[in-house]
Amino acid sequence: MESSEVAVGRAVDGALTEPLRIADQEFDSRLFVGTGKYPDNETMVEAIRASGTAMVTVAVRRVDLDRTQSEGILFHLDPDEFFLLPNTAGCYTAEDAIRYARLARAAGFTEWLKLEVIGDETTLVPDTQATLEAAETLVAEGFNVMAYTNDDLVTALRLEDVGCVAVMPLASPIGSGLGIVNPYFIREIKRRCDVPIIVDAGVGTASDACVAMEQGVDGVLMNTAIATATDPVTMAHAMRLATQSGRLAYLAGRMEAREIGIPSSPTRGMLD
């Protein structure tokens, strides 16, 4: 793996080692992963390492006082080893998201936040108006807000305007594994925004991560696709390669697609 990484890296001028910059921070991977739904914590940590990720999301919840030993995720993930990104998952109003964000910051190790305000229980698609409202408040409070949003251009532009450090349009609904349902708008959001664009949610398997990166976006964030794979560690590795492949393919510049066959071998020089 290492040797092929070096070889392709050289071919496109160090593209794989070029860090991704978000706000004032550089990340050496374009794959961001969640920590939910793993069969156990050991598998989670191993999968996170296999993914080569530079950023790991976590959720804020009540301590379960009915358990004899209530373990938070910090027992398993050291914030000094992993760049942890708290989220506001599960919040349905701007007010709730702001409350969760402040609780996350009070833990004392990060000003970064994945802002998520859900608008619909069936599809879990975001409430873009509430997301914008919360983003504005949280940016003013000094958070580095990475905003989960719909694949909607106008919302993406507004999230950038209010000062989000990254805009994260969905590929398809959270946990659906449907892949990118609207690649055109993902490309258009990337073309029109200056902040990094991270495709967040909906990736089902490695090809989805690759297709996402081929749209030219800066990164991809996923959880369920890795955590609920039969072998999460192997899937994490596949996602790492797919993210790199998609990035390289984008940078390499793909051929034009045509709905006709064009020979690859010379048509001249055929025998009589």
Partner: protein, 72 residues
Amino acid sequence: MSDRVSIQVHVNGKEREVQSGLSVHELVESLDLNPRLIVVELNREILSRDQFKDVQVSEGDAVELVHFVGGG
């Protein structure tokens, strides 16, 4: 104030009887939690860790003890 009197507080949404005069720090430790790994909200106000020992819980207080769990 008498240490013997017990009071009712809401901890993570459930009624709990605790000793009157208990500090937030003592409450957290009595629940076997590490104060450095949790965040405390008292009546919707977040407490900084250096307030845990100084702030006492009172009758009817709503205490939320939160931490990070797995999520996407």
